[in-house]
């Protein structure tokens, strides 16, 4: 790091703030982080100085409005390392459900009383679609442990290497029953990046895919398996395009099933 005490900023774009909460909820570890580094900007935590140059910029949220596109370039220019946090920043987030839908423009009028005040880009995109990103931390929301581990690595000058194994890895290490094999549920766990500790399968619920695609898995084959379980095209599309709709290969698989429909 450049200074004796490294500087950190936390920026928010189009998002629900849940990833920042993962950081705020770190408790003692956040106090420790504040001692190891200067937190220059973290509006939700009470520090406000968005233009300050920093060593690490943690970015939550997707690029969804024209001013986001400008602001993310300024954040990139101000930071040595840019780390994106969560499904919005890494894969467009749920707001990317509008991507590629011709009808999306009509929704503004249906939802807002004065749609003329809404300025949105046609697509909600991950930060990496606009500026180079040094590290992506996935999840909806991110896990506090993974964020602290990555920040700790950067503070020590090490390259963080977050795992990309599927959720099944966690399920099997925890000796959990398989909701797909035992229950016939359309679980996204086999192709979803772990990090949640198999939260949903642990309560008997199929994985929603919050952490996005795992590394080098065959997601298209899981979609075909869902077909064999009796799911229709729109249902399969809904699962792959739910939380990380802009992340490949979930995006193209989901779009393919959407176009095909239930017919």
């Amino acid at each position: 790091m450049s200074q004796a005490k490294p500087r950190i900023a936390v920026h928010k774009f189009a998002s629900c703030d849940g990833c920042q909460l993962a950081l705020l909820n770190a408790g003692e570890a956040l106090v420790e982080l504040a001692q190891l580094a200067d937190i220059a900007h973290f509006a939700e935590g009470g520090w406000y100085a968005p233009g300050e140059p920093v060593d690490i910029a943690l970015v939550e949220g997707s690029i969804s409005a024209p001013e986001d596109a400008e602001r993310i370039r300024a954040v990139r220019a101000s930071a040595r390392y840019l780390v994106t946090l969560g499904a919005c920043a890494t894969a467009g987030g749920v707001q990317a459900l509008r991507n590629g839908l011709a009808r999306a423009a009509d929704w503004l009028g249906e939802v807002y009383a004065s749609p003329e005040f809404i300025r949105s880009l046609p697509d909600s995109l991950p930060v990496a679609a606009y500026v180079p990103v040094d590290l992506e931390i996935h999840g909806c929301p991110v896990s506090t442990e993974q964020v602290l581990e990555a920040v700790g690595d950067l503070l020590r000058g090490a390259v963080p290497a977050p795992g990309a194994d599927p959720v099944c890895t966690q399920c099997k290490r925890r000796n959990l029953a398989c909701v797909l094999v035992n229950g016939g549920q359309p679980c996204l766990g086999p192709v979803t990046r772990s990090g949640c500790g198999a939260l949903c399968p642990a309560v008997g619920r199929a994985c929603y895919g919050c952490y996005g695609p795992a590394g080098l898995v065959n997601a298209a084959a899981l979609a075909r398996r869902f077909e064999a379980l009796g799911l229709g095209g729109e249902d399969i599309a809904g699962r792959f395009l739910f939380i990380t709709p802009a992340a490949e290969p979930f995006r193209s698989i989901g779009q393919g099933y959407r176009e095909r429909g239930d017919g």
Partner: protein
């Protein structure tokens, strides 16, 4: 060893009492969340009484079984592996000391553990895990500690699943070695065979009557039926040369179209031993825990060496798994790494059948 004994069903609890008297923690099968899992139990009443399991490729369903048996099923996703090869465990802890650092080895937490309901395939797999973790120049202390304290009460398999093929690999359905006691479940109770001095000591506490000729005959018939009922199998016990000669077989690509590369087959395989070692450092970098965790040859990091991914495609990953298991295992451990438990078939979310793939890959070989 002595002649087999017989324990009437109501007296099964006495096995638990005797184990507790000898200071053992007891692990056994229970029906939980639609599966059969091995966990800590204290009484025979917790066993899966009247439970059967229907297994097929990619599917496992608990059903009501006929009669009042508690071992009328073949297996669940795990048995012994997590007890000896821990899914996650710390190996050592490092702490900064001045300009250097200090390393402290961690001790595995071990206590005498009796496992009830171990099958022949589990014992064959344990023997292979023993060779891997204990057989080389550097025995693994964590594994050794847990292994040493294990008392194995096996159960001969009378109800194989549709996915079972231990008769074809030669590892079951009857247990032949590596057990302390071996039970066979009959309508009215259990025949008990002794396999070791600790088993003999345990049986002495139970002081059972000898099994009758009729009971032993029914045991023999049940085991014969269990072997005959198995419909799946491998094309042979020595597939090394044929598989090594077919590394470019088109079948590898076909199976890769279906394989999710999720690694479930490796997690449930009782002989798979691959693990990753990772650092879990404190935020200030003053201490770090060095952890070992189950890994899989289907995972991204398994095939990664500095700057290069050696197995980028699902085809290479599936091939790595199957060729190691059925072919190069012979070079490493003197036998195939498959014990015919069928877990990789049942617990594959994509319903891929190892025996079907092996048959297709080896088709036409002399």
């Amino acid at each position: 060893m002595s002649v087999p004994a017989f324990l009437p069903r109501p007296q099964l609890q006495r096995v638990f009492d005797a184990l507790q008297h000898l200071g053992y923690r007891i692990v056994g099968p229970v029906a939980r969340d639609g599966a059969l899992v091995y966990e800590d139990i204290t009484s025979a009443s917790e066993l899966p009484w009247g439970v059967a399991a229907r297994q097929d490729a990619g599917s496992f369903r608990l059903e009501a079984g006929a009669g009042e048996r508690c071992f009328a099923w073949a297996n669940g996703p795990q048995a012994l592996k997590p007890l000896v090869f821990a899914p996650v465990e710390p190996l050592w802890r490092m702490e900064r000391k001045g300009a250097g650092f200090e390393v402290r080895m961690t001790q595995a937490t071990c206590r005498p553990t009796a496992v009830i309901g171990v099958r022949a395939c589990d014992l064959a797999a344990l023997a292979l895990q023993d060779r891997h973790f204990l057989g080389g120049l550097h025995a693994d202390a964590h594994y050794a500690g847990r292994r040493e304290d294990l008392l194995l009460i096996a159960v001969n398999c009378t109800h194989p699943a549709a996915t079972c093929f231990c008769a074809s690999t030669g590892d079951g359905p009857q247990v032949s070695r590596g057990f302390d006691l071996a039970l066979t479940e009959l309508d009215e109770g259990y025949t008990v065979a002794v396999g070791s001095p600790p088993g003999e000591k345990l049986l002495a506490l139970l002081a059972p009557a000898p099994a009758t000729a009729d009971q032993l005959e029914r045991e023999r018939a049940a085991l014969h039926r269990a072997a005959a009922a198995q419909t799946r199998g491998l094309p042979g016990r020595q597939l090394r040369d044929v598989l090594m000669a077919r590394l470019d077989h088109p079948r590898w690509q076909e199976v890769a179209e279906r394989c999710l590369a999720c690694g479930n087959c490796t997690a449930v395989c009782p002989t798979c031993f691959c693990h990753a070692e990772i650092e879990s450092a404190s935020l200030d970098g003053a201490t770090s825990l060095h952890l070992r965790e189950w890994d899989s040859c289907f995972g991204e990091r398994h095939g990664y060496i500095h700057g290069k991914q050696l197995r980028p495609g699902t085809r290479e990953r599936y091939r790595q798994w199957l060729v190691h298991k059925l072919a190069t295992w012979h070079d490493q451990y003197g036998r195939s790494g498959c014990v015919g438990c069928g877990r990789c078939i049942t617990w594959c979310p994509a319903a891929i059948d190892l025996t079907e793939e092996a048959a297709a890959l080896c088709a036409g070989a002399a």
